[in-house]
Structures are given as structure tokens and as C-alpha cells.
Symmetry: D2
Subunit: 334 residues, 4 copies
């Protein structure tokens, strides 16, 4: 950790600060510049409150040298993490598409969609049973029944399933769900993350609406610190001032996260854009940017979807998307 002192700091003030660091078991190097003194603080500085340090009268600025995420950090784990899900692998050069409806609406619906997307090349089936809706008056999902229908679709098609959890108390219902999704709104629901850290289930962790990449990794760290290293990161758009799309898909997150972490990174262009017409070009762009997979909303009857119909593709549109994406993927891998 580095602390830059303001011009005019007296030697006594400087030495008091150094004493404060030393009282915390840290060592300090002093480097005198033309106008500023710079302190290099050496040792385990993870407990030093950098905001407090920056607020001191004599401190101009402070900066951490080491990242606060450790288990998710590629520096300490250079090898890609590969998360196994049923017969499939996510990460480490493998590319998988997760597809399915926003909400599970009935057993027939989820089976029909599952069969269609499997035929087009999707590996995993997604479907929401518990739905986080902005309004308490909107459809909140079929809940336990939705999970059952998903399991039925899994039995018939052999596809592993992905579904979102909103409450750690529901964990018993997710026993046979293959990947548990944490939605953007719950990315910093730390109690939920801790509970998932105690399981060994793969967790698909979506980036929060206004979260930095470092915060996303700190949330992954919550899960990993509990002992569960099967975390898949998902970029799904961030909130900006631009009103034309629901969110702004941040594809530079893909190569950046690739450097910062060893965890797999997938992209959800459906929620990011909120518009079916934009899903195919953004899916192709995500594959071109190097993503490890995609998460795509598909509905057999988008006009009557109970939630987020606007961003769902028909099975035919999904089929075209999957074919184009696979060709992009060849260019990237080649």
C-alpha cells in the first residue's frame, strides 16, 4: 500500500502516521520526492482502512498495491478454472450456450423449448421459477412447481438446468438443479452468497447493474471463501444514461475479466439489450470478444410470455443465432 503525504506535512506528523502503521504490525519505506513524500507500507495491509487513510489531513492520496480478491485472482491461479456441469465443461477453452425461457410457465412449454434449443446446439436449459420483479404486482414465478417442470424437462432431454435463487431458505428445492443462478440484483446479497459458498453447486453469478468488475470478483470471492470454487461469471449489461437499450452491454468486461481472473465468463445479451432484434448481433459480438458461453432467452410464443417477452427469440431465431455464433467461435478459437 502506498500513501502520498501532502506538501507541508511536518516530520512529527509523518512519524506519527508511521507509528500508527507500525502499531498494526506493518513496515514503512519513506521516499522523498520534489514536492511530496511517499510512504510504502509493507506487510499484510488488507485490514488497513484505505478510506480512513485518505481522509487524514496530511494524506493526499493512498493506493492499494495488491488486489483484495485472492481466490478469484489469476495472479495466484494462472490456470483457467473449468466448471463441470453434467456432461459439459464451462471455461478453459470450452464454449457453451445456455438457452430457455425467462420464466417457466408450464410443463409443456419448458419441454417444448428445451427440445427446440437442444436441437439447435444449446448445452444447458435455463428457466426461471423464482422471479425478481421490480413490481410486487408482476408475475413472481411458479416457484416450486417451476423447478419441478424444469426437472421433468431435464429428465426428458438430458440437459442440465440453470435456475435463479432469491432466498437461501429455498436451497433444498435446488438440490437437483445443476447450476444455481444469482441475479444482478442479488450480486451483493452477501448472506445468500455465503450460503452458496457452503454448497458445491456451480453458481452462475451475474454482474450487478452498477457493479465494477472488482466488485463482481469480490462477490465471487464470498462464494469461494466458503469453499465452493465452481463460480461462473456473467456480464449482462450495466446501467448508463443511454435510454435506447435497457442496459449497456459491456463487452470489454470479457477480455478484462480474462486477465483478472481464472473463472469462466459468459454473456447474457437478452437481458442486457431487452430487445429481441439486438440479441443476435450482440451474441455474435460476445463470442468474438472471447466469451466462454452465452445465455439466451428463447420462448415458443414470445407474444404471450409472462415476463420479458420483448427480449425472447423464437426457436427459429435461436437456431440461426446458434449457427452464426458457432462460426464466429471457430474464428476466435482458430
Amino acid at each position: 500500500m502506498i500513501a502520498v503525504l501532502k506538501p507541508g506535512t511536518s516530520v512529527r506528523q509523518r512519524d506519527n502516521l508511521i507509528l500508527w502503521f507500525k502499531s498494526q504490525g506493518l513496515d514503512v519505506h519513506i521516499s522523498e520526492g520534489q514536492t511530496h513524500t511517499v510512504l510504502g507500507i509493507i506487510g499484510d495491509t488488507s485490514r488497513v482502512d484505505i478510506d480512513l487513510l485518505q481522509s487524514l489531513d496530511i494524506v493526499d492520496s493512498a493506493k492499494r498495491v495488491s488486489e483484495t480478491y485472492k481466490l478469484a485472482n489469476r495472479k495466484f491461479h494462472p490456470q483457467d478454472t473449468v466448471v463441470p456441469v453434467g456432461p459439459y465443461k464451462i471455461g478453459g477453452g470450452n464454449f457453451q450456450i445456455i438457452a430457455g425461457p425467462c420464466s417457466v410457465e408450464s410443463e409443456e412449454q419448458i419441454i417444448e423449448v428445451a427440445q427446440a434449443v437442444k436441437k439447435s446446439g444449446a448445452a444447458l436449459l435455463r428457466g426461471g421459477a423464482f422471479k425478481p420483479r421490480t413490481s410486487p404486482y408482476d408475475f413472481q414465478g411458479l416457484r416450486a412447481a417451476g423447478i419441478e417442470y424444469l426437472l421433468e424437462a431435464k429428465k426428458i432431454t438430458g440437459m442440465p438446468i440453470v435456475s435463479e435463487i432469491m432466498n437461501a431458505e429455498h436451497l433444498p428445492l435446488f438440490e437437483d438443479v445443476d447450476v444455481i443462478q444469482v441475479g444482478a440484483r442479488n450480486m451483493q446479497n452477501f448472506e445468500l452468497l455465503k450460503a452458496l459458498g457452503k454448497t458445491q453447486k456451480p453458481v452462475l453469478l451475474k454482474r450487478g447493474l452498477a457493479s465494477t468488475l472488482k466488485e463482481l470478483l469480490m462477490s465471487a470471492e464470498y462464494i469461494m471463501a466458503g469453499g465452493n470454487e465452481n463460480v461462473i461469471l456473467c456480464e449482462r449489461g450495466i446501467r448508463t444514461y443511454e435510454p435506447s437499450t435497457r442496459n449497456t452491454l459491456d463487452l470489454s468486461a470479457v477480455p478484462l475479466l480474462r486477465e483478472m481472473t481464472h473463472l469462466p465468463i459468459i454473456v447474457d445479451p437478452s437481458h442486457a439489450t431487452g430487445q429481441a432484434r439486438l440479441v443476435q448481433p450482440m451474441a455474435m459480438a460476445a463470442a468474438a470478444a472471447g466469451a466462454d458461453g452465452l445465455m439466451i432467452e428463447v420462448h415458443n410464443d414470445p407474444m404471450h410470455a409472462l415476463c420479458d417477452g420483448a427480449q425472447s427469440l423464437t426457436p427459429e431465431q435461436f437456431d440461426e443465432l446458434a449457427r452464426k455464433v458457432m462460426r464466429i467461435r471457430e474464428v476466435v478459437a482458430g
Copy 2:
């Protein structure tokens, strides 16, 4: 609800869309403009998926005429809501200051701070027992013991207490807490909001880091829809591109929320700015903008605070703030 059709929409396409609305029990007015046809959809449109509507090929744009929040809406409840907390009232022309440390650290600490802020005019005591921290390695709060120390301080000073909840399972521990706080990161933890809606406890609901005012009101609506109308809103800064402050305090939220809702609105300048030096000017500005109260972090030894020391005031600084704010308040009220 209004739907604007694209130029070139055929009469058959238009009539199909109208049939779709009518099949949902809605009535439709047609208004032909120079280039566009406008449909006015009449009836209970709250179940119509506006995103889906906007994504149809023939629809140029769509717009809701009525807000989706009802219980929190001033249109239907013109009178200010007043939330009673012990001997104090929040809202309806009353102004209250909530003060205390970010985290409860010990019984002595919380009692000492409570006595100091009470003397300076604070009505309620705040203190965190369960702490949402970005890093799993940071101090997570004293938990149950922290609540006990707060209750001890309440017994000694008579101050009602405010503390943050992170998990509905902890509700039994909050039985004697006077106001339950929902933090910014949990503003859209809908499962937690629903659980709080079933209690009658006053809830202090903080605006999410990237939440619109409408979303804040929709989250209040979740609590109110459960039967608990004792909701206090709190502006605490939003995330922007500006790096000089932790967040950007959005004080125009105060007069805007005043128009949109009957619920009380308080401001937290400590978390918004993250810097002790900015707390007093922003507290004065919040009072001048018409807030119903303030939430201020005060610590008897900010240099050693276990969390967020950078934004804590000393009791002396708080005393000066309280005096200045009260004089501002007189100008506003007068």
C-alpha cells in the same frame, strides 16, 4: 397506456393488435395523426408487458399513463405519512436526526456515542450490527451482540434505535429494534422486503446505488403491499463517473420524491460522500432542500473505527453540524 404505431402499419395489423388488447379485457381509442396512429389503451393495463409491446414490429413506442406504484403514490394519498418512532415523529413537517457509528464495536463505545449525539440534538441512535461489506475478509459486524449493546444504549439514553438487517431469518433479533434499515445493496432483495412487509416495524429503505426514484418507490410498494405502511425513504448517493466522491448525492431526489410520494424522505450524507469533511456542507444542503431528516455517522474515535472511519464525524463536529442544520431548518420551515 399509449401505443404509437409506425408509419406504414396496415389496417389489418392495427386491428390485430387491437384484438390482442381486447382479449385482455381492455378498451382501445384510435387517434390518427399526420404520420402516426396513436392507440389509447383503457382499463387496468398494469398486466400489459410494455417491453413486449415496444418490441412489436408495428409499434414505434409505448408509454404508461399511470404509475405502477399505488400505495406509495401521493396521487392516491395526498396527506403526508408520519411514521411514529418512540416519542418521535418522522415526516409531516417534523425533522429528526439519526446519528451513531457505522458499526457497533463495544457496549462502552455505543453508549458513549449515544450520550454525546443525544446531547447535540439527535433523536435516534444508529449502529450497525450486521454489516454488508464488499470483501468477505472485512469486519462483518458483532451481529447478535451488537444488537444487545444497542438495546443497552437505548435503555440508558431512551433513544429509539435503528439498525440494518441483511437476512429475514434475523428478524427475531430485531424485535426491540425501533427502525429496521434496508441497505442500498438490498433495496431489490425482494424476499427481504416481503418479509418486512409482514411486520409493523418502521422500515428505513435506502435507495440502491443505481436505482431510479421509481424503482425506490416500487421497493417501498413491496413492503406496503404486505401491510406495513411505515416506510421511510433514504437518499444516500448514486453511482456516477465522478471519482472524487464515493457516490454522488442526488439532492433533487428530495423535492421530487416529495411530489411523487407521501412517505418521509431522509438523507445520509456520510455514506454518499465517504469523506468527513463533506458531511457538514451536504447535511446543510439536504436540510435546505427540504429533507425530513438526516442520518449521520458519528464515532468517538474515528481513527480506530473498524469500518467507514473516513466518513465519521467526531462528537464535536456533529455538535456543530446539528446547530447549523437546525438554523437552516428554521429558514425552510419559516
Copy 3:
């Protein structure tokens, strides 16, 4: 234009507002809903101040039905605009790469880079002579000499050249420049846009740091309204809260602008990300999203570049990028 009146508006108030519209030569349709009255205002509403309308006591909200950009609007010009630049075409299914250094530094440098990027497939040569720098103490460009060196490189390689203008008074210096670039900071320098509208030079208009797509099109409209329809739009990243990249590249702008306008759309991944390592994945993603071209910074000696060296590729890196992008382009076109 549509105006929604508040519940409780009296008939007299409503009729006064209707009179105000009629006094401006407009016609009004009235549609009564369950709680709100909706007025449809018919005629040329482009002069009605929508902000003023929305601020009236009796008006709940107002909405334009027609876009305010006309010449740039695909609704009125369904055919793609193709901008001819020397022997090349931009737009309408053609794909071109513009490459070169951020700043022209010497005649040797610009010729060397030009020859290298031409060999790798770049069609146009870019190079800054007048540089907009945040600090007055940073290198401001070679100015007139820079333009001359570019023209020399054009003579030798046959590549058309692109350079940025900062002041309409410099227009005479740009007589032999093939494409005049307007930088992000000048996107709303309306005096400059008007001056460019009076020429017939192709203009490469970069999106402002915090500009919406509609504002970008309104700025294109300034140029087109003057008589110059040769406008090329350029997405180059927008400002968000994320600190890991200089800007956030908004690739959904590509398919969105494709729907809104007939003008060509290119992408600049170098300025967007600010980091050489991210340029290739983002260039590939931009091509996959359907861009009409790319603008890439290339420097023969990035370590000594006088400006923006951090985001420049070496000629070797550019060669690899160009090959990969062309393969992506085949997938998109096919």
C-alpha cells in the same frame, strides 16, 4: 405529440391548454381514460417546447411521436447511404479499416506506418495534426506541418487520409484531406458542425462522451441540414462508472443506429478501451456486431508515442487483427 393530463384537471384548464395548441396552428384529439385524459396533438409539433409542456401543473407527462431528426432518419431514407472516399466506399455493405497513429510525429513516421497498415489491408490512413488534449501542457499536435506529412504519405501510398479538425478557421488547411474527423469533445460544437455542413467533405462524426444516440443523430443533422450528406458515424465508448477501461464501448449502438439511420457506422476500439491489449477482441466484436468499418491506432514505436501510446498497436499486432477481423466479417456478410 401526446400530452397526458393529471387526474383532477378541470375542463376549463384542459380547454385552455387546447386553445394554446390551436393558437400554434395545431389540432388536438381528446381521449378520456379511466383516470387520465390524453391529448393527441396533430400537425407540425417540432416547435412545441416539450419540456415546458411537461412542466405545466396540469400535465402529467408528454411524449413526441415523431423523431426530431429528419435527414438522418431511416424512416424517410430507407436506403443505406454510401460515402465514397477516393477509390473506397463506406457503408452499404462495404467494410473498411482506417488505421494510423494517434498523432503525426514526423514525415518518416507517418509514411512508415502508412505503408505497414496498407500492406495489412487498411483502406484509409488516420493521423492527428490538431490534437484535443485535456491538459494545456500536453503535446497539441504538429498542426499545419502534420497535415503536410499526411498529404505526403497519401501521395506515396495512395491512401485517402482522415484527420481531426478543432476549429472551422482551419478548414483551408483541410482542402486535400479526404475525411474530416470531428472528435467526441466537439460533437456538440454546433458552430463547427454548421461550417462543415457547408462543405461537401465526408465528415467522420464521433459520438460524445455522454451523448445519446439521438443526440449523435441530431449532430449529424446539423451537418446534413447545411447540405452535406456525407456523414460517417463513429462509436468510441461512453463514460460510465467502471474504472477498468477509459470508456465503455457501447456495441449495441451499432445495430441500433442501423435501424435509426441510413448513415454508415464505424467503431473505434482504441480510444474506447485505452489499452492495446483490448483492441483486438473489441475490434472483432465490433465487426461481429455489424459495423461498417473500424478505426484503429497503430504506431511503429508505441513506447515513444507522443500521445495515447497505451492504446496503439504495433504494425504486427495490427496485421493479426486485420486478418481475424476479415474472417469475422465473412461470417457476418455470409
Copy 4:
């Protein structure tokens, strides 16, 4: 300047980098930490490209120790700058209100508004003659005639006048204008800033829509570097994701700029909020936050204002605002 090297950097790589610094006339201190080496670069580092440095393979991160703004920096000029305008002083404990219409529409209008606002306590008269409008089809101002009407109002009332410039070529028209305003869209029109730096006119510099406080100070530095130190800064709202106001007024900018610079800081709540109803509370808040003055839009007939009528106050509303603000001001100063 500080550079943190990545773990695993070899001694040879480190020494090469140090040589590169030394070749630029700089000195380097080496400090070895547990995992990282930190270099302190000493000397005039203002020409070192920090982005380039950060992009090097062996560099983890880099940080400037000194600000790049010098003339505007309070560190080097601790005393408040006071800008004299006619008989008034701006800055240094003085508080002034600038009021008037968005656009000058006629001689009668501007004189009538001037007389009204003067009576209520405004010191300076504002009025737009050259108007930056997003659309080329909107009213662009009366231009030269507008300036003449302002000068007539100045003659009659004795009020110094403030008007916006959009083009350095118009400078001769501004010879008798007392304060030249640079609008938010031109904050980084560096050619215009340089031209204003060569005059001695007070310049009111508005913060750009998405500009950081440091960028605002760098733009002030452009003017000051030319020899003109009469710069007044103006906070007028920044662009965020919140749709309820036109912009988000960032009042923490006031105390922050107070620390960073010696220049006066005023606030424009009219353009920030875009809604007349919000102007008074935000004006009071700005005064409470410690601003040196306000800029308020006032119109004698807001319903017919040719531009920005929505945010204009009537003279009666302004009178109330001025009285309340003066009482807030007493609390702040006292």
C-alpha cells in the same frame, strides 16, 4: 509519480524501465514490498504518458502524485480568487445572484426581466444571444441583436451582463459584455478556451455534462495558461441514469472544488433540474453547500419562452427564492 511492478518482473526488465525514466531526465527510487516492487519517479513527470506506462506488461498500475493543474490549484495559491465584475465581487466570501431569461427575445423583455430581478436582489443579468441547441431546427438565438438588447438593459439598470459565446470569431461582439459564459457543451472546446485566455474578460466556465472536477479544472487551466485568471466555475448538473430530472445536480462539487481550487464556484439549478418547481429547493441547497453564487433563469412569461421555458421562474417566484437564499446565506456565513 509512482509505478507498481507486477510480481515476477525480472531485475533486467525493471532496470530497463528505470533507464527509460532516466532517459527522460527523471530520478527513480526503488522500494521492494512483499509481493510488488514500487518505483517512485522523481522530477518533472508531467510529460510522462501515464496511460502508456500502465499498459506495459510489467506494470501493474501507476499513479500521479501531483495534480496536472497548476494555476488553478489551491495548493500553490491558497488565497481565494476574487473576480471583480462592475461594482460586484465574485468569490472570497461574496455571494452574488445572476438572473435573467434563457434567451434574449426582445429589448422590452430583457429590460423588464432585468428591472424585476434587480429589485429582488440579483447583481448580474444573464441572457442568451447565441444559443447552443441540440436540434438545428430549434431557435438559435437573436445573435448580435440579442447582445445589443442586453447592453441596452445594462445601460438602463446598471447591471453587469453575462452571455454565452459559441465561437471565438464572435469575440468582438462581446467587447462590452461583462462576463463571457462558456457552456457545458463547449467546456472542452480547447480552441475557444485558448482564445478566451488571451482576453482579460471574466469567464464563467460551466462543467461539461460528463466532466470530472479535474477536467473542469484542466479547462480552467487552458484559460489561465493564456494569461486570463478571471475564471468562475459553474456546477450545472451531470448526466446520470436517473430520468426524472434533466441532469443530476452534484452539490458535493461545491465543497470539493473549494478544496481543490481558489477559483469562485457558482451553481445553476435551472439547467440542472430542467423543472421550475425544483429550482427553489436546489438554489437553497446550493447556498447551504457553500456556493459563491447562483445563476437562475427568470422569464416574465414562461409559457411563451422560446427556449427552456420549463425551467424558468416568474419574477414573483424569483423574488421568493432570493429572499430564502439570503437567509440561508446568513446561516452559512455566520
